[in-house]
Amino acid sequence: MQIDLSVQDATKRFKDFTAVNCVSFEVQKGHFFSILGPSGCGKTTLLRMIAGLTEPTSGIIEIRGQDMAGTPPNKRPVNLIFQQLALFPMMNVGENIAFGLQRRKVNKADIKKKVHAILERSDLPGFESKKISQLSGGQKQRVAIARCLILEPTVLLLDEPLGALDLKLREQMKVELKKLQAKVGTTFVYITHDQSEALVMSDYVAVMNEGEFEQIDTPQNLYNRPETSFVANFVGENNAWSGKIKECDGLTAEIETAEGSLFRTKLKESLQPGTEVDLFLRPEAMVIQPDTDMSDLNRFEVVVKSLLFDGANSRLLANPLNDDTQLLIALPQNRQYDYIKVNDKIKIGWDKQSGICFPKK
Protein backbone atom coordinates (compact mmCIF):
# COMPACT_ATOMS: atom_id res chain seq x y z
CA MET A 1 0.00 0.00 0.00
CA GLN A 2 1.27 3.42 -0.92
CA ILE A 3 2.03 5.89 1.86
CA ASP A 4 0.60 9.34 0.98
CA LEU A 5 1.71 11.22 4.06
CA SER A 6 4.52 10.44 6.42
CA VAL A 7 5.43 12.58 9.42
CA GLN A 8 8.56 11.75 11.39
CA ASP A 9 9.37 13.35 14.74
CA ALA A 10 7.65 16.60 13.85
CA THR A 11 8.25 19.17 16.58
CA LYS A 12 7.17 22.78 16.88
CA ARG A 13 8.35 25.06 19.66
CA PHE A 14 7.19 28.61 20.25
CA LYS A 15 9.74 30.26 22.56
CA ASP A 16 9.36 28.21 25.76
CA PHE A 17 6.19 26.37 24.75
CA THR A 18 6.22 23.10 22.81
CA ALA A 19 3.04 22.89 20.75
CA VAL A 20 3.88 19.64 18.95
CA ASN A 21 6.40 17.23 20.43
CA CYS A 22 8.02 14.48 18.33
CA VAL A 23 4.90 13.32 16.52
CA SER A 24 5.28 10.51 13.98
CA PHE A 25 2.65 8.82 11.86
CA GLU A 26 1.90 7.53 8.39
CA VAL A 27 -1.28 7.71 6.38
CA GLN A 28 -1.99 5.22 3.61
CA LYS A 29 -3.40 6.28 0.29
CA GLY A 30 -7.17 6.63 0.35
CA HIS A 31 -7.49 6.50 4.13
CA PHE A 32 -9.55 8.78 6.31
CA PHE A 33 -7.19 9.67 9.14
CA SER A 34 -8.35 11.74 12.12
CA ILE A 35 -6.42 13.52 14.80
CA LEU A 36 -8.57 13.81 17.89
CA GLY A 37 -7.68 15.98 20.84
CA PRO A 38 -8.94 18.67 23.21
CA SER A 39 -8.54 22.29 22.12
CA GLY A 40 -5.01 23.57 22.61
CA CYS A 41 -3.41 20.14 22.22
CA GLY A 42 -1.43 21.23 19.14
CA LYS A 43 -3.49 19.54 16.44
CA THR A 44 -4.02 22.71 14.40
CA THR A 45 -0.28 23.48 14.56
CA LEU A 46 0.44 19.96 13.29
CA LEU A 47 -2.00 20.40 10.40
CA ARG A 48 -0.53 23.80 9.50
CA MET A 49 2.93 22.23 9.39
CA ILE A 50 1.68 19.64 6.89
CA ALA A 51 0.06 22.41 4.81
CA GLY A 52 3.28 24.43 4.97
CA LEU A 53 1.76 27.45 6.71
CA THR A 54 3.96 26.83 9.76
CA GLU A 55 7.57 25.74 9.57
CA PRO A 56 8.39 22.79 11.91
CA THR A 57 11.22 23.34 14.40
CA SER A 58 12.49 19.86 13.56
CA GLY A 59 11.27 16.66 11.95
CA ILE A 60 10.47 15.47 8.45
CA ILE A 61 7.18 15.74 6.58
CA GLU A 62 6.98 13.65 3.41
CA ILE A 63 4.15 13.59 0.89
CA ARG A 64 4.26 10.58 -1.47
CA GLY A 65 7.87 10.08 -0.46
CA GLN A 66 8.93 13.65 -1.19
CA ASP A 67 10.42 15.73 1.59
CA MET A 68 8.38 18.92 1.91
CA ALA A 69 10.95 20.96 3.84
CA GLY A 70 11.28 24.39 2.26
CA THR A 71 8.33 23.90 -0.11
CA PRO A 72 5.88 26.80 0.30
CA PRO A 73 2.15 26.01 0.69
CA ASN A 74 1.34 27.13 -2.86
CA LYS A 75 3.67 24.44 -4.23
CA ARG A 76 2.54 21.55 -2.01
CA PRO A 77 0.16 18.85 -3.30
CA VAL A 78 -2.03 19.28 -0.21
CA ASN A 79 -4.97 21.56 0.41
CA LEU A 80 -6.41 22.77 3.66
CA ILE A 81 -10.03 23.39 4.54
CA PHE A 82 -10.10 26.02 7.24
CA GLN A 83 -12.24 25.95 10.33
CA GLN A 84 -14.01 29.12 9.20
CA LEU A 85 -13.88 27.81 5.60
CA ALA A 86 -12.24 31.05 4.35
CA LEU A 87 -14.34 31.33 1.20
CA PHE A 88 -13.48 34.53 -0.66
CA PRO A 89 -16.42 36.92 -0.13
CA MET A 90 -15.26 39.15 -3.01
CA MET A 91 -15.85 36.34 -5.52
CA ASN A 92 -18.89 34.25 -6.42
CA VAL A 93 -19.10 30.48 -6.01
CA GLY A 94 -17.73 29.73 -9.49
CA GLU A 95 -14.76 32.08 -9.07
CA ASN A 96 -14.01 30.62 -5.65
CA ILE A 97 -13.87 27.09 -7.03
CA ALA A 98 -11.94 28.14 -10.15
CA PHE A 99 -9.35 30.06 -8.08
CA GLY A 100 -6.88 27.18 -7.75
CA LEU A 101 -7.14 26.08 -11.39
CA GLN A 102 -6.60 29.67 -12.59
CA ARG A 103 -3.38 29.75 -10.58
CA ARG A 104 -2.28 26.65 -12.49
CA LYS A 105 -3.02 28.44 -15.78
CA VAL A 106 -5.55 25.86 -16.94
CA ASN A 107 -7.39 27.18 -19.99
CA LYS A 108 -10.75 28.88 -19.47
CA ALA A 109 -12.96 26.33 -21.22
CA ASP A 110 -11.54 23.47 -19.15
CA ILE A 111 -11.95 25.42 -15.92
CA LYS A 112 -15.58 26.11 -16.74
CA LYS A 113 -16.23 22.45 -17.51
CA LYS A 114 -14.52 21.25 -14.34
CA VAL A 115 -16.26 23.81 -12.10
CA HIS A 116 -19.59 22.78 -13.59
CA ALA A 117 -18.84 19.09 -13.03
CA ILE A 118 -17.70 19.48 -9.42
CA LEU A 119 -20.71 21.64 -8.52
CA GLU A 120 -22.93 18.95 -10.00
CA ARG A 121 -21.18 16.32 -7.92
CA SER A 122 -21.49 18.47 -4.78
CA ASP A 123 -25.28 18.73 -5.28
CA LEU A 124 -24.98 22.44 -6.09
CA PRO A 125 -25.77 22.50 -9.82
CA GLY A 126 -26.01 25.96 -11.36
CA PHE A 127 -24.58 27.73 -8.29
CA GLU A 128 -21.66 29.33 -10.22
CA SER A 129 -22.91 32.91 -10.06
CA LYS A 130 -24.27 32.86 -6.50
CA LYS A 131 -22.63 35.04 -3.91
CA ILE A 132 -21.02 33.43 -0.87
CA SER A 133 -23.34 35.38 1.44
CA GLN A 134 -26.37 33.74 -0.24
CA LEU A 135 -25.31 30.22 0.77
CA SER A 136 -26.41 28.27 3.83
CA GLY A 137 -23.90 26.74 6.24
CA GLY A 138 -24.00 23.32 4.60
CA GLN A 139 -23.67 24.76 1.10
CA LYS A 140 -20.64 26.85 2.14
CA GLN A 141 -19.13 23.66 3.48
CA ARG A 142 -19.58 21.90 0.17
CA VAL A 143 -18.17 24.84 -1.79
CA ALA A 144 -15.09 24.87 0.45
CA ILE A 145 -14.56 21.16 -0.14
CA ALA A 146 -15.18 21.46 -3.88
CA ARG A 147 -12.69 24.35 -4.07
CA CYS A 148 -9.98 22.02 -2.74
CA LEU A 149 -11.01 18.76 -4.40
CA ILE A 150 -11.04 20.33 -7.87
CA LEU A 151 -7.24 20.59 -7.52
CA GLU A 152 -7.04 16.82 -6.94
CA PRO A 153 -4.68 17.12 -3.97
CA THR A 154 -2.72 14.10 -2.75
CA VAL A 155 -3.90 14.79 0.77
CA LEU A 156 -6.85 16.92 1.84
CA LEU A 157 -6.46 18.50 5.28
CA LEU A 158 -9.57 19.46 7.21
CA ASP A 159 -9.40 21.70 10.28
CA GLU A 160 -12.64 21.07 12.23
CA PRO A 161 -14.78 22.12 9.27
CA LEU A 162 -17.99 21.00 10.96
CA GLY A 163 -17.39 23.01 14.13
CA ALA A 164 -19.48 25.99 13.08
CA LEU A 165 -22.55 24.00 12.00
CA ASP A 166 -25.59 23.25 14.13
CA LEU A 167 -26.04 19.73 15.50
CA LYS A 168 -28.49 18.37 12.96
CA LEU A 169 -26.46 19.58 9.98
CA ARG A 170 -23.27 18.32 11.60
CA GLU A 171 -24.68 14.80 11.87
CA GLN A 172 -25.74 14.96 8.23
CA MET A 173 -22.40 16.36 7.01
CA LYS A 174 -20.54 13.66 8.93
CA VAL A 175 -22.17 10.94 6.85
CA GLU A 176 -21.87 13.04 3.70
CA LEU A 177 -18.14 13.63 4.20
CA LYS A 178 -17.53 9.94 4.79
CA LYS A 179 -19.43 9.03 1.62
CA LEU A 180 -17.66 11.74 -0.37
CA GLN A 181 -14.26 10.52 0.79
CA ALA A 182 -15.10 6.96 -0.21
CA LYS A 183 -16.28 8.20 -3.62
CA VAL A 184 -13.31 10.40 -4.55
CA GLY A 185 -10.73 8.20 -2.83
CA THR A 186 -8.58 11.16 -1.76
CA THR A 187 -6.59 10.76 1.44
CA PHE A 188 -8.18 12.86 4.18
CA VAL A 189 -6.46 14.11 7.32
CA TYR A 190 -9.14 15.44 9.61
CA ILE A 191 -8.69 17.15 12.94
CA THR A 192 -11.42 17.52 15.50
CA HIS A 193 -12.13 17.71 19.20
CA ASP A 194 -15.42 15.88 18.68
CA GLN A 195 -14.85 12.18 19.32
CA SER A 196 -18.03 11.14 17.55
CA GLU A 197 -16.87 12.83 14.31
CA ALA A 198 -13.54 11.04 14.56
CA LEU A 199 -15.02 7.63 15.40
CA VAL A 200 -17.76 7.71 12.77
CA MET A 201 -15.70 8.86 9.80
CA SER A 202 -12.18 7.56 10.23
CA ASP A 203 -10.24 4.51 9.21
CA TYR A 204 -7.61 5.45 11.77
CA VAL A 205 -7.67 7.91 14.65
CA ALA A 206 -4.74 9.43 16.49
CA VAL A 207 -5.53 10.77 19.95
CA MET A 208 -3.42 13.79 20.75
CA ASN A 209 -2.77 15.37 24.12
CA GLU A 210 -0.37 18.16 25.08
CA GLY A 211 1.49 17.99 21.79
CA GLU A 212 1.98 14.23 21.73
CA PHE A 213 0.12 11.28 20.25
CA GLU A 214 -1.29 9.00 22.94
CA GLN A 215 -2.49 6.25 20.61
CA ILE A 216 -2.98 5.65 16.89
CA ASP A 217 -5.55 2.97 16.19
CA THR A 218 -8.82 2.05 14.55
CA PRO A 219 -11.91 3.63 16.15
CA GLN A 220 -12.98 0.20 17.48
CA ASN A 221 -9.67 -0.41 19.22
CA LEU A 222 -9.54 3.11 20.65
CA TYR A 223 -12.89 2.55 22.27
CA ASN A 224 -12.43 -1.04 23.40
CA ARG A 225 -8.71 -1.18 24.10
CA PRO A 226 -7.46 2.29 25.10
CA GLU A 227 -3.77 2.28 25.87
CA THR A 228 -3.58 5.24 28.24
CA SER A 229 -5.85 6.77 30.87
CA PHE A 230 -6.16 9.89 28.73
CA VAL A 231 -7.56 7.90 25.82
CA ALA A 232 -9.91 5.96 28.10
CA ASN A 233 -11.22 9.23 29.51
CA PHE A 234 -11.36 11.21 26.28
CA VAL A 235 -12.80 8.67 23.86
CA GLY A 236 -16.32 7.73 24.82
CA GLU A 237 -17.78 8.02 28.29
CA ASN A 238 -16.22 6.24 31.19
CA ASN A 239 -16.65 5.76 34.90
CA ALA A 240 -13.39 6.25 36.73
CA TRP A 241 -12.09 5.10 40.08
CA SER A 242 -8.67 5.53 41.56
CA GLY A 243 -7.32 2.89 43.87
CA LYS A 244 -4.52 0.49 44.81
CA ILE A 245 -3.70 -3.06 43.77
CA LYS A 246 -4.48 -5.30 46.72
CA GLU A 247 -3.61 -8.64 45.19
CA CYS A 248 -2.30 -9.54 41.81
CA ASP A 249 -2.51 -12.99 40.26
CA GLY A 250 -1.03 -12.98 36.76
CA LEU A 251 -3.26 -10.69 34.70
CA THR A 252 -6.10 -10.53 37.21
CA ALA A 253 -6.03 -8.23 40.19
CA GLU A 254 -8.11 -7.20 43.13
CA ILE A 255 -8.28 -3.46 43.49
CA GLU A 256 -9.29 -1.48 46.52
CA THR A 257 -10.71 1.88 45.46
CA ALA A 258 -10.15 5.09 47.41
CA GLU A 259 -13.76 4.78 48.64
CA GLY A 260 -13.12 1.31 49.99
CA SER A 261 -14.87 -0.91 47.41
CA LEU A 262 -13.19 -4.08 46.16
CA PHE A 263 -13.26 -4.93 42.45
CA ARG A 264 -11.70 -7.72 40.44
CA THR A 265 -10.42 -6.77 37.03
CA LYS A 266 -8.12 -7.95 34.28
CA LEU A 267 -4.77 -6.24 33.76
CA LYS A 268 -2.67 -5.67 30.66
CA GLU A 269 0.50 -6.40 32.56
CA SER A 270 1.23 -7.82 35.98
CA LEU A 271 1.49 -5.14 38.69
CA GLN A 272 2.96 -5.16 42.20
CA PRO A 273 0.50 -4.97 45.11
CA GLY A 274 0.34 -1.40 46.39
CA THR A 275 0.65 0.16 42.91
CA GLU A 276 -1.63 3.15 42.48
CA VAL A 277 -3.99 2.60 39.55
CA ASP A 278 -6.84 4.22 37.59
CA LEU A 279 -9.76 1.94 36.86
CA PHE A 280 -12.19 2.72 34.03
CA LEU A 281 -15.51 1.13 33.19
CA ARG A 282 -17.79 1.88 30.22
CA PRO A 283 -21.42 2.73 31.12
CA GLU A 284 -22.62 -0.16 28.97
CA ALA A 285 -20.36 -2.65 30.78
CA MET A 286 -22.56 -2.44 33.86
CA VAL A 287 -25.40 -4.94 34.02
CA ILE A 288 -28.52 -3.79 35.85
CA GLN A 289 -30.04 -6.36 38.27
CA PRO A 290 -27.76 -9.26 37.17
CA ASP A 291 -28.98 -12.84 37.66
CA THR A 292 -27.76 -14.27 40.95
CA ASP A 293 -26.31 -17.36 39.26
CA MET A 294 -23.87 -15.33 37.17
CA SER A 295 -20.58 -15.91 38.95
CA ASP A 296 -17.41 -13.90 38.67
CA LEU A 297 -19.20 -10.51 38.64
CA ASN A 298 -18.23 -7.49 40.66
CA ARG A 299 -21.50 -6.71 42.41
CA PHE A 300 -22.61 -3.67 44.34
CA GLU A 301 -25.70 -1.65 45.08
CA VAL A 302 -26.40 1.87 43.92
CA VAL A 303 -29.01 4.56 44.54
CA VAL A 304 -30.48 6.06 41.34
CA LYS A 305 -30.06 9.83 41.42
CA SER A 306 -31.43 10.74 38.05
CA LEU A 307 -32.71 9.26 34.79
CA LEU A 308 -31.09 10.79 31.73
CA PHE A 309 -33.37 9.92 28.85
CA ASP A 310 -31.71 10.41 25.46
CA GLY A 311 -33.31 7.82 23.18
CA ALA A 312 -30.95 4.99 22.44
CA ASN A 313 -28.26 6.71 24.47
CA SER A 314 -30.27 6.85 27.75
CA ARG A 315 -28.38 6.49 31.01
CA LEU A 316 -28.82 6.35 34.74
CA LEU A 317 -26.92 8.63 37.07
CA ALA A 318 -26.31 6.78 40.32
CA ASN A 319 -24.24 6.74 43.53
CA PRO A 320 -22.93 3.60 45.21
CA LEU A 321 -24.52 3.04 48.64
CA ASN A 322 -21.42 3.70 50.68
CA ASP A 323 -19.92 6.71 48.87
CA ASP A 324 -20.79 9.59 46.57
CA THR A 325 -18.85 8.67 43.41
CA GLN A 326 -21.03 9.51 40.44
CA LEU A 327 -21.60 6.61 38.06
CA LEU A 328 -23.08 6.56 34.57
CA ILE A 329 -24.94 3.37 33.73
CA ALA A 330 -26.26 2.65 30.24
CA LEU A 331 -30.00 2.03 30.22
CA PRO A 332 -31.03 -0.32 27.39
CA GLN A 333 -34.19 0.95 25.71
CA ASN A 334 -36.10 -2.32 25.52
CA ARG A 335 -38.54 -1.04 28.21
CA GLN A 336 -37.35 -3.82 30.50
CA TYR A 337 -36.18 -1.27 33.07
CA ASP A 338 -39.09 1.16 32.91
CA TYR A 339 -39.88 0.42 36.56
CA ILE A 340 -36.67 2.12 37.77
CA LYS A 341 -37.40 5.44 39.47
CA VAL A 342 -35.26 8.07 41.13
CA ASN A 343 -34.05 7.07 44.63
CA ASP A 344 -34.59 3.35 43.91
CA LYS A 345 -31.88 1.01 45.09
CA ILE A 346 -30.70 -1.32 42.33
CA LYS A 347 -28.05 -4.02 42.02
CA ILE A 348 -25.24 -3.57 39.54
CA GLY A 349 -22.72 -6.10 38.28
CA TRP A 350 -19.80 -6.02 35.92
CA ASP A 351 -17.48 -8.61 34.49
CA LYS A 352 -13.79 -8.39 35.27
CA GLN A 353 -13.03 -8.55 31.55
CA SER A 354 -14.69 -5.13 31.03
CA GLY A 355 -12.46 -3.24 33.44
CA ILE A 356 -9.69 -1.09 32.00
CA CYS A 357 -6.86 -0.51 34.40
CA PHE A 358 -3.71 1.63 34.14
CA PRO A 359 -0.99 2.29 36.69
CA LYS A 360 -1.01 5.97 37.70
CA LYS A 361 1.67 8.08 36.11
Binding site: A51, G52, L53, P72, P73, N74, K75, N79, L80, F82, Q84, A86, F88, P89, M90, M91, F99, G100, R103, R104, R147, C148, L151
Partner: protein, 285 residues
Protein backbone atom coordinates in the same frame (compact mmCIF):
# COMPACT_ATOMS: atom_id res chain seq x y z
CA UNK B 1 -42.92 63.41 23.79
CA UNK B 2 -42.58 63.62 20.05
CA UNK B 3 -42.80 67.37 20.22
CA UNK B 4 -39.94 67.51 22.69
CA UNK B 5 -37.87 65.22 20.50
CA UNK B 6 -38.23 67.64 17.61
CA UNK B 7 -37.06 70.56 19.75
CA UNK B 8 -33.92 68.71 20.87
CA UNK B 9 -33.11 67.91 17.28
CA UNK B 10 -33.55 71.55 16.28
CA UNK B 11 -31.31 72.81 19.10
CA UNK B 12 -28.48 70.50 18.13
CA UNK B 13 -28.88 71.00 14.43
CA UNK B 14 -29.07 74.80 14.42
CA UNK B 15 -25.35 75.56 14.93
CA UNK B 16 -24.41 73.10 12.22
CA UNK B 17 -26.95 74.46 9.77
CA UNK B 18 -25.99 78.06 10.57
CA UNK B 19 -22.34 77.23 10.10
CA UNK B 20 -22.95 75.47 6.81
CA UNK B 21 -25.23 78.18 5.50
CA UNK B 22 -23.44 81.34 6.65
CA UNK B 23 -19.86 80.24 6.14
CA UNK B 24 -20.11 77.91 3.18
CA UNK B 25 -23.32 78.16 1.17
CA UNK B 26 -23.76 81.93 1.32
CA UNK B 27 -20.19 82.89 0.36
CA UNK B 28 -20.23 80.25 -2.38
CA UNK B 29 -23.37 81.74 -3.86
CA UNK B 30 -21.79 85.18 -3.70
CA UNK B 31 -18.61 83.91 -5.38
CA UNK B 32 -20.66 82.09 -8.00
CA UNK B 33 -22.51 85.29 -8.89
CA UNK B 34 -19.24 87.20 -8.86
CA UNK B 35 -17.65 84.76 -11.29
CA UNK B 36 -20.22 85.71 -13.92
CA UNK B 37 -19.73 89.47 -13.61
CA UNK B 38 -17.07 91.62 -15.19
CA UNK B 39 -16.18 95.27 -15.67
CA UNK B 40 -17.14 96.68 -19.07
CA UNK B 41 -15.27 99.46 -20.95
CA UNK B 42 -17.21 102.11 -19.10
CA UNK B 43 -16.04 100.67 -15.76
CA UNK B 44 -19.47 99.27 -14.83
CA UNK B 45 -20.14 95.71 -13.61
CA UNK B 46 -22.16 93.66 -16.11
CA UNK B 47 -23.14 89.98 -16.53
CA UNK B 48 -20.67 88.09 -18.72
CA UNK B 49 -18.81 84.82 -19.17
CA UNK B 50 -15.51 86.61 -19.85
CA UNK B 51 -13.91 85.16 -16.70
CA UNK B 52 -14.48 81.62 -17.95
CA UNK B 53 -13.54 82.61 -21.49
CA UNK B 54 -10.21 83.96 -20.19
CA UNK B 55 -9.44 80.64 -18.61
CA UNK B 56 -9.75 78.72 -21.86
CA UNK B 57 -8.12 81.43 -23.94
CA UNK B 58 -4.99 81.82 -21.85
CA UNK B 59 -2.79 78.68 -22.04
CA UNK B 60 -0.99 79.46 -18.74
CA UNK B 61 -4.30 79.12 -16.91
CA UNK B 62 -5.59 75.87 -18.31
CA UNK B 63 -2.11 74.34 -18.50
CA UNK B 64 -1.71 74.97 -14.78
CA UNK B 65 -5.17 73.53 -14.29
CA UNK B 66 -4.38 70.30 -16.16
CA UNK B 67 -0.96 70.07 -14.49
CA UNK B 68 -2.53 70.40 -11.05
CA UNK B 69 -5.09 67.71 -11.87
CA UNK B 70 -2.52 65.26 -13.27
CA UNK B 71 -0.05 65.82 -10.44
CA UNK B 72 -2.80 65.44 -7.82
CA UNK B 73 -3.84 62.11 -9.31
CA UNK B 74 -0.20 61.04 -9.42
CA UNK B 75 0.34 62.09 -5.79
CA UNK B 76 -2.77 60.15 -4.76
CA UNK B 77 -1.57 57.04 -6.59
CA UNK B 78 1.98 57.23 -5.21
CA UNK B 79 0.64 57.83 -1.69
CA UNK B 80 -1.44 54.67 -2.07
CA UNK B 81 1.57 52.65 -3.30
CA UNK B 82 3.58 53.75 -0.26
CA UNK B 83 0.74 53.55 2.27
CA UNK B 84 -0.48 50.03 1.41
CA UNK B 85 2.65 48.17 2.57
CA UNK B 86 2.80 50.40 5.66
CA UNK B 87 -0.83 49.64 6.54
CA UNK B 88 -0.34 45.94 5.78
CA UNK B 89 2.74 45.81 7.98
CA UNK B 90 0.95 47.50 10.88
CA UNK B 91 -2.19 45.36 10.70
CA UNK B 92 -0.91 41.92 9.65
CA UNK B 93 2.80 41.54 10.24
CA UNK B 94 3.67 43.30 13.46
CA UNK B 95 2.63 41.98 16.90
CA UNK B 96 -0.65 43.47 18.15
CA UNK B 97 1.01 45.31 21.04
CA UNK B 98 3.18 47.33 18.62
CA UNK B 99 0.29 48.31 16.36
CA UNK B 100 -0.77 51.26 18.50
CA UNK B 101 2.80 52.39 18.92
CA UNK B 102 3.44 52.40 15.16
CA UNK B 103 0.20 54.24 14.47
CA UNK B 104 1.24 56.92 16.97
CA UNK B 105 4.62 57.19 15.21
CA UNK B 106 2.73 57.91 11.99
CA UNK B 107 0.66 60.51 13.80
CA UNK B 108 3.46 62.40 15.54
CA UNK B 109 4.59 64.51 12.53
CA UNK B 110 1.03 65.83 12.33
CA UNK B 111 1.29 67.40 15.76
CA UNK B 112 3.24 70.26 14.20
CA UNK B 113 1.71 72.45 11.52
CA UNK B 114 2.16 71.83 7.83
CA UNK B 115 4.25 75.00 7.62
CA UNK B 116 6.79 73.69 10.11
CA UNK B 117 6.94 70.33 8.34
CA UNK B 118 7.56 71.99 4.99
CA UNK B 119 10.32 74.16 6.50
CA UNK B 120 11.80 70.97 7.91
CA UNK B 121 12.04 69.55 4.40
CA UNK B 122 13.54 72.82 3.18
CA UNK B 123 16.27 72.66 5.82
CA UNK B 124 17.08 69.14 4.65
CA UNK B 125 16.97 69.75 0.91
CA UNK B 126 18.17 73.29 0.17
CA UNK B 127 21.52 74.00 -1.46
CA UNK B 128 23.20 74.69 1.89
CA UNK B 129 21.06 72.07 3.63
CA UNK B 130 21.77 68.99 5.71
CA UNK B 131 21.70 66.42 2.89
CA UNK B 132 24.01 68.43 0.63
CA UNK B 133 26.37 68.95 3.57
CA UNK B 134 26.75 65.21 4.15
CA UNK B 135 26.92 64.32 0.45
CA UNK B 136 29.87 66.69 0.05
CA UNK B 137 31.49 65.59 3.29
CA UNK B 138 31.51 61.95 2.16
CA UNK B 139 32.78 62.95 -1.27
CA UNK B 140 29.71 61.87 -3.24
CA UNK B 141 29.21 65.38 -4.63
CA UNK B 142 31.81 67.98 -5.55
CA UNK B 143 29.59 71.00 -5.18
CA UNK B 144 26.12 71.38 -3.64
CA UNK B 145 22.99 70.73 -5.75
CA UNK B 146 19.76 72.63 -5.35
CA UNK B 147 17.18 69.97 -4.50
CA UNK B 148 14.32 72.31 -3.74
CA UNK B 149 12.04 73.98 -6.29
CA UNK B 150 11.66 70.92 -8.51
CA UNK B 151 8.48 69.03 -9.35
CA UNK B 152 9.84 65.92 -7.69
CA UNK B 153 10.52 67.80 -4.45
CA UNK B 154 7.04 69.24 -4.50
CA UNK B 155 5.59 65.74 -5.01
CA UNK B 156 7.67 64.49 -2.10
CA UNK B 157 6.24 67.20 0.13
CA UNK B 158 2.68 66.55 -1.01
CA UNK B 159 2.96 62.79 -0.49
CA UNK B 160 4.48 63.31 2.94
CA UNK B 161 1.62 65.61 3.90
CA UNK B 162 -0.99 63.15 2.63
CA UNK B 163 0.39 59.86 4.00
CA UNK B 164 -1.65 59.74 7.20
CA UNK B 165 -4.94 60.32 5.40
CA UNK B 166 -4.28 57.26 3.25
CA UNK B 167 -2.79 54.99 5.93
CA UNK B 168 -5.61 55.39 8.46
CA UNK B 169 -8.50 54.26 6.20
CA UNK B 170 -6.29 51.46 4.84
CA UNK B 171 -5.52 50.22 8.35
CA UNK B 172 -9.20 50.06 9.20
CA UNK B 173 -9.97 48.31 5.90
CA UNK B 174 -7.20 45.73 6.33
CA UNK B 175 -8.04 45.08 9.97
CA UNK B 176 -11.34 43.55 8.88
CA UNK B 177 -9.57 41.22 6.43
CA UNK B 178 -9.55 37.65 7.77
CA UNK B 179 -5.99 36.27 7.80
CA UNK B 180 -7.43 32.90 6.82
CA UNK B 181 -8.40 34.30 3.41
CA UNK B 182 -4.76 35.13 2.69
CA UNK B 183 -3.63 31.71 3.90
CA UNK B 184 -6.39 29.95 1.95
CA UNK B 185 -5.35 31.71 -1.25
CA UNK B 186 -1.71 30.82 -0.56
CA UNK B 187 -2.72 27.21 0.06
CA UNK B 188 -4.69 27.09 -3.20
CA UNK B 189 -1.58 27.98 -5.17
CA UNK B 190 -1.60 31.78 -5.30
CA UNK B 191 1.64 33.74 -5.16
CA UNK B 192 2.18 37.08 -3.43
CA UNK B 193 0.97 39.20 -6.35
CA UNK B 194 -2.19 37.19 -6.92
CA UNK B 195 -3.03 37.48 -3.22
CA UNK B 196 -2.46 41.23 -3.42
CA UNK B 197 -4.62 41.80 -6.51
CA UNK B 198 -7.31 39.14 -5.96
CA UNK B 199 -7.76 39.22 -2.18
CA UNK B 200 -6.23 42.22 -0.44
CA UNK B 201 -7.04 45.05 -2.87
CA UNK B 202 -10.65 43.91 -3.61
CA UNK B 203 -11.28 43.65 0.12
CA UNK B 204 -9.72 47.04 0.88
CA UNK B 205 -11.37 48.89 -2.04
CA UNK B 206 -13.76 51.01 0.09
CA UNK B 207 -10.81 52.08 2.27
CA UNK B 208 -8.62 52.75 -0.75
CA UNK B 209 -11.31 54.89 -2.39
CA UNK B 210 -12.11 56.91 0.73
CA UNK B 211 -8.41 57.48 1.41
CA UNK B 212 -7.86 58.47 -2.21
CA UNK B 213 -10.73 60.97 -2.15
CA UNK B 214 -9.35 62.70 0.94
CA UNK B 215 -5.76 62.72 -0.35
CA UNK B 216 -6.83 63.95 -3.79
CA UNK B 217 -8.94 66.80 -2.43
CA UNK B 218 -6.27 67.88 0.06
CA UNK B 219 -3.57 67.80 -2.62
CA UNK B 220 -5.63 69.63 -5.20
CA UNK B 221 -6.49 72.37 -2.73
CA UNK B 222 -3.04 72.57 -1.15
CA UNK B 223 -1.38 75.95 -1.38
CA UNK B 224 1.48 75.94 1.08
CA UNK B 225 3.53 72.97 -0.09
CA UNK B 226 3.53 73.72 -3.85
CA UNK B 227 4.24 77.37 -3.08
CA UNK B 228 7.18 76.78 -0.76
CA UNK B 229 8.72 73.63 -2.23
CA UNK B 230 7.72 73.92 -5.89
CA UNK B 231 9.23 77.25 -6.72
CA UNK B 232 8.40 79.33 -9.76
CA UNK B 233 8.39 76.55 -12.35
CA UNK B 234 5.87 74.33 -10.65
CA UNK B 235 2.80 76.51 -10.52
CA UNK B 236 -0.22 75.04 -8.71
CA UNK B 237 -3.73 76.12 -9.63
CA UNK B 238 -4.41 77.37 -6.09
CA UNK B 239 -1.56 79.83 -6.63
CA UNK B 240 -3.39 81.13 -9.72
CA UNK B 241 -6.48 81.69 -7.59
CA UNK B 242 -4.40 83.44 -4.94
CA UNK B 243 -2.79 85.65 -7.56
CA UNK B 244 -6.16 86.73 -8.90
CA UNK B 245 -7.61 87.54 -5.49
CA UNK B 246 -4.58 89.10 -3.84
CA UNK B 247 -2.09 90.19 -6.51
CA UNK B 248 -4.38 91.29 -9.36
CA UNK B 249 -7.25 92.08 -7.02
CA UNK B 250 -9.54 90.56 -9.66
CA UNK B 251 -12.08 88.80 -7.43
CA UNK B 252 -14.33 87.96 -10.36
CA UNK B 253 -11.60 86.06 -12.20
CA UNK B 254 -10.51 84.39 -8.94
CA UNK B 255 -13.99 83.09 -8.16
CA UNK B 256 -14.33 81.71 -11.69
CA UNK B 257 -11.09 79.78 -11.12
CA UNK B 258 -12.36 78.62 -7.76
CA UNK B 259 -15.47 77.14 -9.33
CA UNK B 260 -13.45 75.47 -12.06
CA UNK B 261 -11.35 73.80 -9.36
CA UNK B 262 -14.48 72.70 -7.49
CA UNK B 263 -15.86 71.24 -10.71
CA UNK B 264 -12.55 69.47 -11.39
CA UNK B 265 -12.38 67.80 -7.98
CA UNK B 266 -16.04 66.71 -8.15
CA UNK B 267 -15.54 65.33 -11.65
CA UNK B 268 -12.37 63.37 -10.84
CA UNK B 269 -13.96 61.87 -7.71
CA UNK B 270 -17.05 60.90 -9.70
CA UNK B 271 -14.89 59.17 -12.33
CA UNK B 272 -12.90 57.46 -9.57
CA UNK B 273 -16.06 56.13 -7.91
CA UNK B 274 -17.40 54.88 -11.25
CA UNK B 275 -14.13 53.13 -12.13
CA UNK B 276 -13.85 51.40 -8.74
CA UNK B 277 -17.60 50.54 -8.80
CA UNK B 278 -18.08 52.15 -5.40
CA UNK B 279 -20.75 54.51 -4.14
CA UNK B 280 -20.04 57.59 -2.05
CA UNK B 281 -22.35 56.27 0.66
CA UNK B 282 -20.40 53.04 1.05
CA UNK B 283 -17.03 54.79 0.94
CA UNK B 284 -17.69 57.39 3.64
CA UNK B 285 -19.00 54.81 6.09
Amino acid sequence: MKHQHRWTLLIFLTPVLLWLFLLIVLPQIDLFIMSFRTENDAGKMVWSITNYYNFFNEPIYWLTFVRTAVYSILVTFLTFIIALPVAFYITKVVKPKFQGFLTVLLLIPFWVSEMVRVYGWMILLRESGVINHFLIKFGILNHPVEMLYRDSTMMLGLIYTSMLFMVVPLISALESLDDNLIEAAYDLGANMWTILFKIIIPHATPGIVSGSIVVFMLTLGNYLTPNLMGGKNSLWFTEQIYNQFIASFNWNQGSAFGFLLLFLSSFVIWVGLKLSKQTLKKVIQ
